[in-house]
Symmetry: C2
Subunit: 158 residues, 2 copies
DNA sequence: GCTATGTTACTCGGATATACAATGTCCGAGTGACTGTGG
DNA sequence: CCACAGTCACTCGGACATTGTATATCCGAGTAACATAGC
């Protein structure tokens, strides 16, 4: 039960795109070499972010990816949900009303499964924390001596 | 990123064993038919709970599994950790200091990755909620008209 | 000078391969309660 | 009545087979900026 690596990639790429806002779209190759990631697979993950409305993709010769909204409007929960899917961590398959256990109890299962309720509560706490952190918050935390390096790197490839 | 089904099985089996405390060990076959689960695989998961000190297994002809501690002493976090491992949901692989991004920044990476910090905070909130729920809490919530059925079921197989 | 055509550097979407974890099954060994037998 | 061996019903641990998902790669199609050619 672990999150895919794509989540880490996605968040860092969002932060990077936030630093580079105003410079136009950033091609995947630049992001991939910047973080040393497999270019093709990174593309797939960023496409998922674009489908979710977090990134915007512009085709063409000067194309690439850019933020679709302001960094303050992108939460970690948005990124996680876009990349890992909306499914819950705990999927209740209602085993309580299967097998011999369901023979006697007919009207007992009208109220929800207590296990699922408890799990959902924990999961909501998790999502609430994730929803409270935006890309802008991460930018404020990060020590951006690297920002200069990041911008210069564009010139290195041109 | 989903939890395995074994977690649902484990929690329900713990609750069942709690109801049947004092009747001695319960064999796997009874639990498996009760919930209509694959017996052999359920065994594997319960063995994991036994290794974690949540269940106790007694060999022999009247053997089976039983709770190793009181239901108040078993939290959902215990069960989840025993079955899914202690690994964190978000594994930071420090991509920020890989590739071209790490060329300029030398002393920048002394402080922890902001992404990992935010993820860890959310995860701690999740674990805190899970640790606040015990098997005994679930028993108090559950409508146990089924408890009679459960005890009778023993006689059905004897 | 202006339009048409081609080139280039990107993205998109789908198809496919690979690695690894989750799920499921099977078998031999150990163990303790019970049964039966010999003394 | 008691010691002892045998059987039975369990668990344990490991060795597999199967399935699904994450990861990774590749290819054809579309698109917009730019360059070039033709009028």
């Amino acid at each position: 039960m672990r999150m895919g690596e794509g989540v880490e990639w996605g968040v860092h790429c969002c932060a990077t795109l936030a630093w580079l806002q105003g410079e136009g779209p950033v091609p995947i190759r630049r992001l991939a070499t910047w973080f040393d990631l497999p270019q093709e697979y990174l593309k797939k993950r960023l496409q998922a972010l674009a489908r979710a409305g977090i990134l915007a993709s512009t085709p063409g010769v000067r194309g690439g990816f850019s933020l679709a909204r302001a960094p303050e409007q992108i939460t970690l929960l948005d990124v996680v949900t876009a990349l890992e899917g909306p499914a819950e961590l705990f999927g209740c398959s209602e085993i309580r009303q299967r097998g011999a256990g369901s023979l006697g109890g007919d009207s007992e299962f009208v109220q929800p499964c207590g296990v699922a309720v408890a799990m959902r509560r924990a999961e909501l706490a998790w999502r609430r924390e994730l929803a409270g952190q935006t890309i802008a918050d991460l930018m404020a935390l990060a020590p951006r001596s690297g920002e200069r390096t990041l911008r210069n790197y564009r010139n290195m490839t041109d």
